[in-house]
Amino acid sequence: MTGGYDPTETPADSQLVKAMVTTYHKAGIDPLLWPRLAGSWPGVTFTGPPLKLPAGQFRLGHGDGAHAAGRVLADRIRQPEGGRHGRRGPIVRRPVLRVGVTGLPAKRGLHVGAPPDLLARSGREITYSRWRSCSRFCATSEISKALDRRPSQPAVELAVARNGSRCPAIVEAERVDPTEGAIDLHVFPDASSTTAARTECGGSAVSFERAAVVDGASGNTWRSMAPSVGSTRFRSTMAGQREPFRATASSTAGWDGRRSSASRISLVAQESAARTPPRIRDLAAHSAREIGRRAYVKAALRW
């Protein structure tokens, strides 16, 4: 056994799912519910003991069933004038790594994407600044790029893989003030509590909180209807250690009106002690391997 996690399940009639469905309905979207994804994520961190919280994944679109709505976005990118090929190109499809699920640091940009129909409805087209010069070439010909949106737009990170090989991505994104733009947020009363609760878990102090579930329907733009549907954070801190083990996970993107958080799953281990509950330690180690990027780990620690 080299890692992994148990299946996760949240009842369809849970408050979280109900709140999400309501959010979509308020946004004029009839959501499609799907009983169980073929993929996996360590949602059992929330739904399993000791927390036993509802957790789910809600997005505007999964593209081809890929991880994040951002992949839809990436697939629809039109090469801007003066782009990588020096000309304005067609809408291209490109393999994309790490868009969305393990995305940008919370304070540096909102990771969003939107399906084409929603873009059409919103009457807006996502535009981008020029490609930056290639960030990096590896010997295996992989390219990592960073793509910035124009000012006032959230930043998007793209790491383009070639030939199935990988190299360390370089995160280049501008910090965006998420309070820009007229977006009214409404908090569902039944999910607005952010009061932390505490319990004991294998000698560790575990605190968790439910962030507000927000309804960004009033803006009627893709941005306001971005997956700002709620988040659940989980943190485990080993008592008495200067640099504690820390596991942080966000089940969905959140937007509390002051900052945005990427839709991501991150569990960060800081030399976790043997006393750490094995399951959490395994999860953290597994996720750290999945993430595999120091930059991201640092970002997660700042979060």
């Binding site: 056994m1 996690y5 399940e9 369809a12 009639d13 499609l32 009983p35 169980r36 949602g43 739904t47």
Partner: protein
């Protein structure tokens, strides 16, 4: 509403003096699925699979007609599904059944030309997708009870 669990494990076969780790690995892997190439064949693997509840089945039934089958095929660059199954059947299997997948295989020499070697090591990385009421510890325990327990690490 949920996703599958995903324990991962490696199966490693290492060389005895005149034995072939690669062949043993292949034989070990062959015990994991049935002849159709995908149905898990591990004894007891389906014992813990909880059938879809009527509520989830209803959600699935409502969702299937709303999905664009043609678009899904285009996205995957396929013209037909496995076994020419209808969407309702394969969707049910997709959301309710566990799977055992080979993530990767490594062993021996595969470069240009040939080498008359006996690979001293062969490794397969296995990705098991679990559904309720599976748990990965129990899954690992089941695997360790297999005829190839000695190779599990």
């Amino acid at each position: 509403m949920g996703t599958r669990g995903r324990p991962r494990m490696s199966i490693r076969a290492t060389k005895a003096q005149l034995d072939s780790p690669a062949w043993h690995l292949v034989q070990a892997l062959n015990t994991l699925v049935k002849a159709d190439g995908h149905t898990p064949a591990v004894e007891g693997f389906f014992d813990k699979v909880r059938p879809l509840s009527p509520q989830l089945q209803e959600i699935l039934d409502q969702a299937i007609p709303r999905r664009d089958e043609a678009a899904a095929k285009r996205a995957l660059s396929v013209s037909r599904w496995y076994g020419d199954e209808v969407v309702a059947r394969l969707s049910h299997r997709l959301v309710s059944q566990p799977t055992i997948n080979i993530e990767g295989l490594v062993g021996g020499y595969t470069g240009p030309g040939g080498k008359t070697i006996l690979p001293n090591r062969a490794v397969a990385k296995i990705d098991v997708r679990l559904v309720p009421e599976h748990d990965r510890q129990g899954d690992a325990a089941a695997a360790e009870g297999s005829p190839h327990e000695a190779w599990l690490r």
